[in-house]
Subunit: 346 residues, 2 copies
């Protein structure tokens, strides 16, 4: 709120308080509190009078005040990279379900892959005194969170590890997944394989690249620098990168795409190409099975990722005190056709 001028007559729109209810019901303040919270020690008769007053006034407990008094907000914050990215939808939903099961509300925000924005958001959430935080990090230095964590804000990082602090992390096995995906291409006869990934400062991107190199090395293949392209996932950039690899002096016969956004663009480019090129993408995509050919992917279970992170968070909130742990969830290779295309030979 840019500037909330003080309009005292409008505070919460002048809602009735327990005091008002008490006055109307002719009882004490605390009695109303007892009724509202279902605490024992109120005769049915009194309770009914209070209920009627609540009804008549349209009273609704002010949780802001309650929070202040109780010291717990029953809310958690989830900072992800982009609320609109379909990959994070199931994760978001899974976190919500766990929160709901614990009676907590979910405050959401996107970092837009900007470390400064991530920090701003996280600190705003801390100022709200959320009970816990689940963060998909954009930055690689989270020391700014140290005082918060020390002060008791449970924090779990998901999808990417925290930077320079020791905290709970829930990850997909990016390295292993990429390695498996690239090995799959190699197993189908490919020797010149391209890799198109996100900026290497992003942990998952770096890990997947590492997996690519590992698979190549496992097979005794040298990875030409011209086959590897890292950077923004903007369609133009990816398009240029794929094109360069396919038209270079040593054209690749297969491409490994580092995430869902890259994959989508690569599919588009390959669709316009004459000669077939094999493709395996990291992350599953809706309708991937209906493409011609079906899209072979290394799938991660985003919902499970979210569930695991939220479970961990609430275990912490329930008092678990063990050392921060790193949980790594497996990926799954789903062969649908595009990854099984043999190398093109002139």
């Amino acid at each position: 709120m840019a500037e909330t001028e003080s309009r005292p007559e409008l505070r919460y729109g002048n809602r009735p308080t327990m005091k008002d209810v008490a006055a109307r019901a002719g009882v004490g303040l605390k009695t109303v509190s007892r009724v509202v919270n279902g605490e024992p020690g109120v005769t049915p008769d009194t309770e009914q009078r209070v209920q009627e007053a609540i009804e008549a006034l349209g009273f609704r407990r002010n949780d802001s005040a309650r929070v202040l008094r109780k010291g717990r907000t029953a809310s958690i914050g989830l900072v992800l990279e982009d609320l609109a990215d379909p990959f994070y939808g199931p994760l978001n939903r899974a976190v919500e379900e766990v929160a709901r099961a614990h009676g907590a509300l979910l405050i959401n925000g996107s970092s837009a892959e900007d470390p400064a924005r991530e920090q701003e958001l996280v600190l705003a959430l801390c100022a709200r005194r959320v009970d816990g935080l689940i963060v998909i990090p954009a930055g690689d230095d989270h020391r700014y969170l140290e005082p918060e964590i020390a002060a008791g804000v449970a924090t779990v990082f998901v999808d990417r590890p925290a930077g320079r602090i020791d905290a709970d992390v829930v990850l997909s096995d990016s390295f292993g997944g990429a390695r498996e995906g690239v090995a799959h291409l190699i197993a189908h006869g490919h020797r010149r394989i391209g890799f198109i990934g996100d900026q290497p400062r992003i942990h998952t991107a770096a890990e997947r690249l590492r997996g690519y190199y590992a698979a190549m090395e496992d097979a005794g293949l040298a990875a030409d620098d011209a086959w590897v392209s890292l950077g923004s996932t903007a369609p133009e950039r990816v398009r240029d990168a794929v094109t360069a690899m396919l038209d270079g002096p040593e054209p690749v016969t297969a491409v490994f795409a580092g995430n869902n956004r890259v994959t989508v663009t690569v599919v588009r480019v390959l669709a316009g190409r004459e000669r077939p090129v094999a493709l395996v993408g990291f992350d599953d995509i809706e309708l991937a099975d209906l493409l011609q050919p079906g899209l072979t992917v290394v799938a991660q279970d985003a919902a499970r990722l979210g569930r695991a992170a939220a479970d961990r968070l609430f275990r912490r909130l329930d008092g678990a005190n063990d050392a921060p742990a790193r949980t790594e969830l497996p990926t799954r290779l789903i062969a649908r056709g595009s990854g099984e295309i043999p190398p093109w030979t002139p």
Copy 2:
């Protein structure tokens, strides 16, 4: 939180308060408040002492207390149907961006298409005293919100209208869009056209059905009951419905799918069929252009929907007092192939 037992030593993890900062800096409480809020009337010298104390203690203002005092929470609630549905991602994100521009946080929740859950969520948000609410309704009776709205909670409904109360609404033109989509099929020669939609108690589903009938009537075509199927969007149900239409005594030659989830399933079913069937779907889908044939859709602009709703909300919060309005955004027919398939003739 099921039961937050009172652990007073753990309230907010014993964070320092302005009082602590004041004590350490050797100044008064209010002076700290002034520094924290950038209010004038503090000498640079004093300010620095306070800043140092803040730094040293790792103080962070408690917005819960602030909210209680100021009467505004600088947060809005967004209740949608399913956080994981890709259609709502861009809407969610758009709302977030507008909220962010106004310095407000976003509290998110899914109704899971359950009116009771919607109400529960909305009332929880009201108890938190969110400044405003954006709701994608699941239920069709929102009179429970009357006291809240009267008490000053700005409320905007989006995607579907409010039930039995007068409130701001931002919608896509479901009727017009469906009518145009069906007319498109008719223009390509179809006479027997199936309609598969969501449960008709959902407003958009009913409107799209109405658009279907209107288009048929416009063309002087009778719509056979056997061509219309409404109900859950579960894949099995949709699969059965399509199959029945295609194998009935008067088989349809084209299908209009009432939303993205239905469309996806219909595409799958048609892909397994020998004879070509035309298809137009409501809602655009990622990769729709890469299917064979490309998927013809009636697209709505979810981000614009969200932006419009949030803009309206914040205009209300800024004091706009005009009568509740209904905003209807146009849809756009995108022809990609599947809707231009001619009727199959034996």
